[in-house]
Amino acid sequence: MTPLVLSGYTATNALGRGNAAVHAALAGARSGLAPCTFENVKLETHVGEVAGVDDQPVIERLAEFECRNNRLAQLALEQDGFTEIVAAARRRYGGARIAVILGTSTSGILETEHAYRARDPQTGRLPASFRFATTQNLYATTDFVRRYLDLSGPAMMVSTACSSSAKVFASAWRLIETGLADAAVVGGVDSLCQNTLYGFASLDLVGREPCRPCDAERGGISIGEAAGFALLERSERAAGHSGIALFGYGESSDAYHMSTPHPEGEGAALAMQRALASAGLEPAAIDYINMHGTASQVNDSMEDKAIRAVFGTATPCSSTKGWTGHALGAAGITEAVISALCITHGLMPGCLNTRHLDPSFTSHVLLTNRHAPVRRVLSNSFGFGGSNASIILGAFE
């Protein structure tokens, strides 16, 4: 496939606001996970909460979009000059030629949770102030971001659970390839809510301690929240770029189970193979793999098998969820930005919090940070429903 450059990118998550904060935490091995104090949640677990999300309301002209998910989106858009980079592209292409393709799992459903606690005891009605279209609806945050950035090109929300904001790269590439857009803002936003906290707990997937991906005694996931964005365009038309490009993507389905991945990682391996094929690269061309690595028993085990099947045992790999937690529909973009930072800074992160590597694993899992040149990264994102996506980012001169 024709590579697309990332003209700009940014991430905001439990590690802080913007790329410098995220990189500093990665380099300094500082986790963003903390005991869960979110609302009145009575679960003994750690979460990756973004500090200060509720401090700044959404801008006045978009007040109808007020909710935590859109506040988090706005906070992220304000970092790393991202809004200005998009504005420059808008002046060049026109707003109708720039697509906005984002991922989420739960959008602004926290707003609906609040409304359900405030139902009229007689009629059961939701409070009159409740707005569905601009909060809970899956498209709400795409619409918010599109309006915030003053863009009117093709737009949609991809919602395929935890692969959502990796799959946006594929959809955006297709829109640009078929000429429906000149550039695309891709990304993802997912914010803490009780639906996911109690939901994952019901499946016994939530760990008590900060998550320990690939650990022999891993005890489950730490849920996080995050937002991240990237602007994709063709290199020959870009005014400038970050030195990072999208080289390939691969999507697949497990066809196995709704909430358990294929135990041998067959669907995951297929996504990685398709990403390599679309990039026209051999496995040896990948310097580092950013794993999905949720720290659930089955995910990490099947992912180890899938990596071994595709890459053998030499390619360094790790999960960064010990830093950020699992940001669900925003995991793909969070780890895409982390991959870009790894390439830029020559960093291969280890699995933070992980003490003893699962002895059954045979892929080359890093437990501590390594400083070495990184030219190409493959990043995995796998979701419920057996939805798998892998993307390849690399250095671009």
Partner: protein, 265 residues
């Protein structure tokens, strides 16, 4: 120009149960008689699996299976796109009710069905497909947005694609906040090359929104179109039923419209 060949169709809505029955109504040969939609029981899902699903999931599988049968193609190799404005409102309602309690107890089955790609997950399991599958949303533009995603897959990936658009009304109190009337599901098997199966070709263009969107002459059917986001697909289905060339306009995002040019095969 971006476009695709339509090789098969599935449809399920009140008074429009299956493409064969609905075609005569949508072509104007038979009157539209509003009637409650029958119970959804897609045979593609094993009985024990079907019991664990919701109407929102069953609707997608029902219309998807009909489109595959109509096209006479194998389902597993097809890529798939599932589009829905509001997702599974029955599940959202149930979990929001549960987490409003003092000690929430969310059902694990409901939770894994709560992901927006649950219909896609059940579909891929039922037909044994490891092909890429995407689930998307764009509020009232969900039909147009899904058709665009599906056609970019056909063109850029040279893939055969199953495109499913479906929405089910949410239970109260959510339906008052986002009213929808009646369920609506439709599916299309799309191909990059013309074949003996091809019914028509669609070509897409995004353009500044025009004053009027395509409508249906029957007032009740046009009410269905405006009463359910997925039913915005009806003008395309009506044109396919008539089997004549047509230029149609569908609401798309922001100030845009999607123009669809339909040419019978």
């Amino acid at each position: 120009m971006i476009g695709a060949w339509i090789d098969g169709i599935g449809l399920f809505a009140p008074g429009l149960v299956g493409w064969e029955q609905a075609r005569a109504v949508l072509a104007g040969a038979q009157p539209y008689v509003p009637a409650p939609a029958p119970k959804l029981a897609p045979q593609l899902l094993a009985a024990d699996v079907r019991r664990r699903t919701t109407d929102h999931i069953r609707l997608a599988v029902e219309v998807g299976a009909e489109a595959i049968r109509h096209a006479g193609v194998e389902a597993a190799p097809l890529w798939s796109v599932f589009s829905s404005s509001d997702g599974d409102g029955a599940i959202s309602h149930n979990i929001c009710e549960e987490v409003a309690r003092e000690t929430p107890e969310v059902s694990p089955t409901r939770f894994h069905n709560s992901v927006n790609n649950a219909p896609a997950g059940y579909w891929c399991m039922a037909v044994g497909s490891r092909a890429p599958s995407t689930s998307i949303a764009a509020f009232d533009a969900s039909f147009a947005a899904g058709l665009i995603e599906a056609c970019t897959q056909v063109l850029a990936e040279q893939a055969g694609v199953l495109y499913v658009i479906h929405d089910t009304p949410m239970p109260e109190p959510l339906n008052s906040a986002r009213p929808m009337t009646g369920i609506f599901g439709a599916a299309f098997v799309l191909a990059s090359q013309r074949s003996a199966r091809s019914l028509a070709r669609v070509t897409l263009a995004i353009e500044p929104r025009v004053e009027t969107m395509s409508r249906l002459p029957d007032a009740a059917l046009d009410g269905m179109r405006t009463g359910n986001a997925a039913a915005r697909a009806l003008p395309l289905l009506a044109a396919l039923a008539r089997g004549a060339a047509a230029v149609l306009t569908f609401p798309y995002v922001h100030s845009q419209a999607l123009r669809v040019t339909l040419e019978p095969a």
